[in-house]
Amino acid sequence: MNFISQTFAVTMLNLRTIPQRLGSSGVAIIGIAGVVIVLVSVLSIAQGFSAAMEQTGSDSRALVMRSGADSEMTSGLGAPEIDIIKQAPGLRREGQAGVASAELYVIIDIPKIGTNSPANVPMRGVEPMASTVRSEFSIVEGRMFQFGTNEVVVGRGAVANFQGLTVGSTIHSGQNTWQVVGMFETDGSIAETEIWCDSRVLQGAYRRGNTYQTLLASLDSSQSFDTFRDWLTANPQVNVQVRRETEYYAQQSRALSTLIRTVGFGIAALMGIGAVFGAILTMYTAVSTRSREIATLRALGFNTTSVVVSVLTESLALAAIGGAIGGVLAYVAFNGYQTSTMNFSTFSQVAFAFQVTPRLLTMGLTYALLMGLIGGLFPALRAARLPIPSALREL
């Protein structure tokens, strides 16, 4: 018999006798499944959050803020500057008007659904071009607000996470009241956590005079970004920084996603050590209950390497089953779970859903296989080095 068929025969022997060791095999599987569930679900939080942030941007939109500002909150642009910015080359135009929306960004206190503690909900004052600039915007309930009134529309994510934002309700904030007349969605981006109103009305309510904070411009093509930016930064009349929207949001999400990912990997690593020991124990049991068979095989002339490979394969098989179970459970339990958290850079809430992607599931499975490999190594070596005479004598 050549090496491959030897290995195959011994491996099949191992795998076929797993049902005899169901108890301890089950423990190893559950242990590994547990680790994979924790890893995948924690990472899915980070994945959902950064997906919501990245989804928000578009390559052919540019965000103009005051130079030196690190987020929309800290930027300020006066009306004369806005007029100049709207004349920049590279801006998409519809007729005479540039497709750009000058916007104001404030935060209002609304309690989260579930807890009663107030959360920072972003309120964005926009210009009529806002829905044209953001092509993914669409009203799903009610209607768009009328500019010049205190009507607002609320994003889908905000309605789901904060109290009292359904269509027809009234929002009281300080001395201002706002009427909710519609709900919008923007393809899952963080704009869905915002409340939109007329920037002119917002300016009055918050006594901002004629100032805005940012300008979101739709470029006529993604390549005109450089022309647009260079004209604006070289212009002595304005003092701005221009960034692609995608780049801005990617940077914003970095801090929180890194933290969550570190926590996820850390916990999974520690748990993994425990699960590996569980797997080692299971495999040692597997080897010792069959030491007579293994010794017989070796006495018959089977290659020691085939014995090692067979034990490793059994360990990997158990780990693979555990990893698959863990991944499926994590997907079923957590994929699409809606929640919201605070984006540290803008101090405002971001609504997002947990996302269990194929990449995460693969990561979980790979980690499970790694644990199975480490767990099976020492037992496999022990099986290979069993002294044949004493093993044959064992019960």
């Binding site: 242990g31 503690s117 001395q175 020991f277 569980g278 049991t285």
Partner: protein, 166 residues
């Protein structure tokens, strides 16, 4: 502080600069709650971790008892009562849990001594005595639960069965 806060707010109510006063503690708590139900997320994750580890520990204890069945049989023949066998197994389980758990608690304490590892994101890391006590209690409980089934089996072992297995 609450009363002063309410007084300030009523002073400025309906003016051009309304205020909302909370205690510093309330403000920070509100912030923490905004990041998401951190408490329940942490607890959910930790329950999953504990459950998995409990399973591994129970398996280990069961294996160790299985290996020493004949010794248990000899002990019983010598006159050790079933209750003392139970205590023996449980005691071993709790001892292992205490060694491992104390190592873990000690490491956690060391890490917290170093202050904040998240670079300012979550600035406060402390391990109050209360939590150390909770940890110690959990260690003992974990040891007891992990060893319960094997200890029970060992206690009820018939001497003839035990000796036959050698």
């Amino acid at each position: 502080a609450q009363q002063m806060g309410a007084k300030f707010d009523s002073m400025f109510a309906n003016s051009s600069a309304e205020t909302k006063t909370t205690t510093e503690k309330g403000f920070v708590e509100g912030f923490a709650k905004q990041v998401g139900d951190i408490g329940s997320i942490m607890i959910a994750i930790l329950v999953a971790v504990l459950f998995t580890m409990l399973l591994v520990a129970a398996n280990t204890m069961a294996q160790s008892v299985r290996e020493r069945t004949s010794e248990m049989g000899v002990l019983k023949t010598l006159g050790f009562s079933s209750g003392s066998i139970l205590a023996l197994v449980l005691g071993e389980s709790v001892l292992i849990a205490v060694i491992g758990g104390s190592l873990g608690l000690g490491l956690a304490w060391l890490i917290v001594q170093n202050g904040d590892p998240t670079n300012g994101m979550l600035p406060i890391f402390i391990l109050p005595a209360r939590d150390v006590v909770i940890g110690a209690v959990m260690i003992v409980v974990l040891g007891l639960i992990a060893g319960a089934l094997p200890a029970f089996n060992a206690m009820n072992l018939k001497i003839t069965d035990a000796l036959r297995r050698s």
